[in-house]
């Protein structure tokens, strides 16, 4: 279906801004790139980073990882990769694990600034396999910043998604590229990806840690996963934690929303937790959680979570302006507004969206939301457009068939999800009409309502039952959750309408004020007047 948003995933990593001069050339063929030349600044960088890692100085590691690496990349490596790992290895005692970490950063930089060749994609897969194997064998004793560990998992899933898109576009591949695909058919295979993530979750026993934390037997969230006293490694634990989010993401890419949510279940997103320490992980978690709930028709749940995160981003995005993830934060922000618009059109609500978020939403999508409520052809086009813009980049996980005729089938998965989504929208077509009539009456007979809606009585009865069915979602435990803001019941042939009035939340308000005042009194007490 035509839409103004181009779904087709460019081979360039759209997460990072592309410097205007950078071309489409693949790495290694740019003039003047010598993989063995190590500038002094890079020498200093790796020597210091290596030392900080050995000394477990997490703060310094974070400064170098988040700050120096970006600055050096901007200054010296805008259009070419960093020096090869073989070139820097002598400066770091040829430390095996450090080299794996350096290579991971090397490939991540490549994906961000340049476009990787087929061979480089395969090599990156090998690097991840080695890195995760080392971690899974429990021989790692470093402490790394959470940002870095999250980026590893995030990038792992991203490169998997990118590879699936890459190998599903067969039409214009050269013979060399096809041969590579044939030869390295195990690279980025879906079993490997899922099993690594699963293994990290299991080996780290992170679900047990979270359980014990609930009973007060373990400190995890309070220390952000670090071990300040004992100094034991946080790498396996945190990779296990972030892999739960990684699994949610992969399952969403496959279209398996139910299992995705199950993978996330050990993390309680109604509470603060380690998942919202790193803003990237916070956004990714809520985005996929909300999207899965949307596809499961749990609209109110999705609206609630989108509302919370959009408010958070509104308040705190200014603090991330310098960060390399800023563009990605903004992109996800826009996508979630689109999803929120969809949810509110399918399931209008009175009181769930905070004022500032609501005004942003109206600024961006007021016209489109009005169109979507009409349920005509134009409305379906808008649903199509917003869904296409905001959905994850679905993948076809099976191995490609490398024989003639060679086709591009990278959009098949997306088309299926879109089709099923629009099918659901069409089933809800007559419901907004019912809703507008019900808002006008407190009681009305079936006969009269049928006449107004220009349908016969038995059709009206089916429409009313559809409304009830669609507006009562079933959650994971089989409980019925009512979603509608306008409800009704029928007694023989009279419809009695019940509109839920938004009630003022006095209890919550008083609680918050009591705590606030108590805090203020405490602070005043502490001030010593000289």
């Amino acid at each position: 279906m035509a839409s103004s948003y181009d779904y087709d995933d460019a081979s360039l990593d759209s997460r990072y801004p592309r410097p205007p001069s950078a071309g489409q050339g693949s790495a290694g063929t740019d003039q003047g790139y010598d993989p063995n030349f190590v500038p002094d600044s890079v020498k200093t960088f790796v020597v210091h980073l290596y030392r900080h890692i050995r000394e477990k100085n997490v703060y310094e590691i974070h400064q170098m990882y988040d700050g120096s690496f970006q600055r050096l990349s901007d200054r010296m490596f805008r259009e070419c990769p960093w020096p090869s790992v073989e070139a820097i290895a002598p400066y770091v005692d040829n430390d095996h694990v450090f080299c794996l970490l350096y290579r991971e950063m090397w490939f991540r930089h490549l994906y961000a600034r340049l476009s990787p060749t087929g061979r480089q994609r395969v090599e990156s897969w090998d690097n991840y396999c080695s890195l995760f194997s080392v971690v899974l064998h429990g021989v790692v004793n470093m402490q790394l910043p959470n940002q870095w560990l999250w980026d590893m998992v995030d990038e792992f899933v991203y490169q998997f998604q990118s590879y699936c898109q890459y190998r599903a576009k067969l039409k214009n591949k050269t013979e060399e590229e096809l041969q590579l695909l044939r030869q390295y058919d195990q690279a980025w295979n879906v079993y490997g990806v899922l099993n690594y993530l699963q293994a990290l979750v299991e080996k780290s026993a992170i679900t047990d840690v979270l359980e014990r934390e609930k009973e007060g037997l373990e400190q995890f969230t309070a220390t952000d996963g670090y071990d300040y006293e004992g100094g034991t490694s946080n790498v396996l634990k945190m990779l296990g934690y972030y892999s739960m989010i990684g699994l949610l993401r992969v399952h969403c890419l496959l279209g398996d929303y139910h299992t995705g949510l199950k993978c996330l279940a050990p993390i309680d997103i109604s509470q603060q937790g380690v998942y919202n320490v790193v803003i990237g992980s916070h956004i990714s978690t809520i985005y996929h959680y909300g999207f899965a709930n949307l596809m499961l028709r749990r609209y109110v749940e999705a609206i609630r979570e989108f509302n919370k995160i959009l408010l958070y981003i509104l308040k705190y995005k200014q603090y991330h302006q310098k960060s390399p993830q800023y563009d990605q934060i903004l992109k996800k922000n826009e996508q979630m507004y689109a999803l929120l618009a969809i949810c509110l059109s399918l399931c209008p609500q009175n009181n769930l969206v905070e004022e500032n978020v609501n005004s942003q939403l109206r600024d961006k999508y007021n016209e489109k939301m009005t169109k979507m409520l009409r349920y005509d052809d134009e409305a379906y086009a808008v649903y199509d457009e917003l869904f296409t813009y905001a959905c994850p980049k679905f993948i076809t996980p099976s191995a490609p068939v490398l024989e003639e005729p060679l086709t591009n089938y990278n959009q098949d998965a997306y088309r299926l999800q879109l089709k099923l989504f629009l099918y659901e929208v069409k089933q809800q077509q007559l419901l907004s009409g019912v809703r507008s009539f019900l808002k006008l009456y407190s009681t009305i007979s079936i006969g009269k309502l049928a006449a107004y809606m220009e349908v016969d009585e038995s059709t009206l009865r089916t429409i009313l039952m559809t409304y009830k069915h669609k507006m009562h979602a079933i959650d994971g435990d089989g409980k019925i959750i009512p979603n509608a803001d306008v409800d009704f019941y029928i007694s023989e042939d009279i419809v009695h309408v019940v509109e839920s009035k938004p009630t003022k939340r006095y209890g919550d308000y008083f609680l918050r004020q009591i705590l606030k005042f108590e805090e203020m009194i405490g602070e005043l007490d502490r001030i010593k007047l000289d």
């Binding site: 879906v190 079993y191 899922l194 099993n195 699963q198 496959l254 279209g255 398996d256 929303y257 139910h258 299992t259 199950k262 596809m295 499961l296 028709r297 996980p397 099976s398 098949d412 088309r415 299926l416 999800q417 089709k419 099923l420 659901e424 089933q427 038995s458 009865r461 089916t462 429409i463 039952m465 559809t466 009830k468 069915h469 669609k470 009562h472 979602a473 079933i474 089989g478 019925i480 009512p482 409800d487 009704f488 019941y489 029928i490 007694s491 023989e492 042939d493 019940v498 839920s500 938004p502 009630t503 003022k504 939340r505 006095y506 209890g507 919550d508 609680l511 009591i514 705590l515 108590e518």
Partner: protein, 229 residues
């Protein structure tokens, strides 16, 4: 009894497999057998069936249409849960073009939009597809009663009859059963027709809806205990 025990053992193991080692093509046959077991013993496991559909996604050459059909019928029987859609999300478009699956999609559409008369008509035309799964009719009738309970306080007899596809003496028996066991009450409607009064719940009696809006989780209230003391 020995065979039942064995079956129980096998089911236990399959559920374990799905929980512990789901991303593994070797369990595909076990999962297929488990589907057949769910059909014959009238049990149901969404997680195991989704696991199988995922594996079919990973290995399109091994897909078995009869198994997919059975999974989808079982999912229909799980309504009002959205299991049927969840399964469709995982089934490739070409497979969804198969005749039997197209029929099931149409049936699901009728059920989702409460078009019970059309549903039963279409189901009658496709008896051969549906009768492979015992308990189908009763499951759909239970779903129909569910939707009626959400919607009606007092429902006319013809509406029930159309929804559950039972008429005449069988319908009388059915209604008697529910009067005795489910708290239904028979009444006379204003046009001398029969009315069933369905049990009160928070959906057809919205005044019963617990107003959770102003409720607070207990943990929040405990936060002010130190202040109160």
């Amino acid at each position: 009894m020995g065979r039942d025990q064995q079956q129980q053992q096998a089911a236990y193991t399959v559920e374990q497999l799905v929980a512990v080692n789901p991303y593994n093509p070797d369990i595909l046959t076990d999962l297929e057998n488990y589907v057949n077991e769910q059909v014959s013993s009238q049990t149901y496991s969404l997680d195991a069936n989704l696991c199988l559909l995922r594996l079919y996604q990973f290995e399109p050459g091994r897909i078995s249409i009869p198994i997919v059909v059975r999974i989808l019928i079982k999912a229909l029987m799980a309504m009002p849960a959205p299991d049927f859609s969840l399964c469709l999300f995982l089934i490739p478009e070409q497979v969804q073009m198969e005749e039997q699956i197209k029929t099931l999609i149409v049936l699901s559409h009728y059920l989702e939009t409460a078009r019970f008369r059309q549903f039963w008509e279409e189901a009658a035309k496709n008896r051969s597809t549906l009768e492979v799964v015992p308990g189908f009719e009763q499951a759909i009738q239970a779903y129909a009663i569910h939707v009626l309970s959400l919607t009606y306080q007092k429902v006319p007899r013809p509406v029930i009859a159309e929804a559950i596809n039972i008429e005449g003496l069988s319908l009388d028996k059915f209604l008697e059963y529910h009067v005795a066991n489910s708290g239904w009450v028979l009444e006379k409607g204003h046009s001398c027709s029969q009315l069933m009064v369905l049990p009160r719940n928070e959906f057809n009696h919205p005044e019963l809806k617990k107003n959770t809006v102003d409720g607070m989780p207990f943990e929040h209230v405990t936060r002010i205990f130190p202040i109160l003391s």
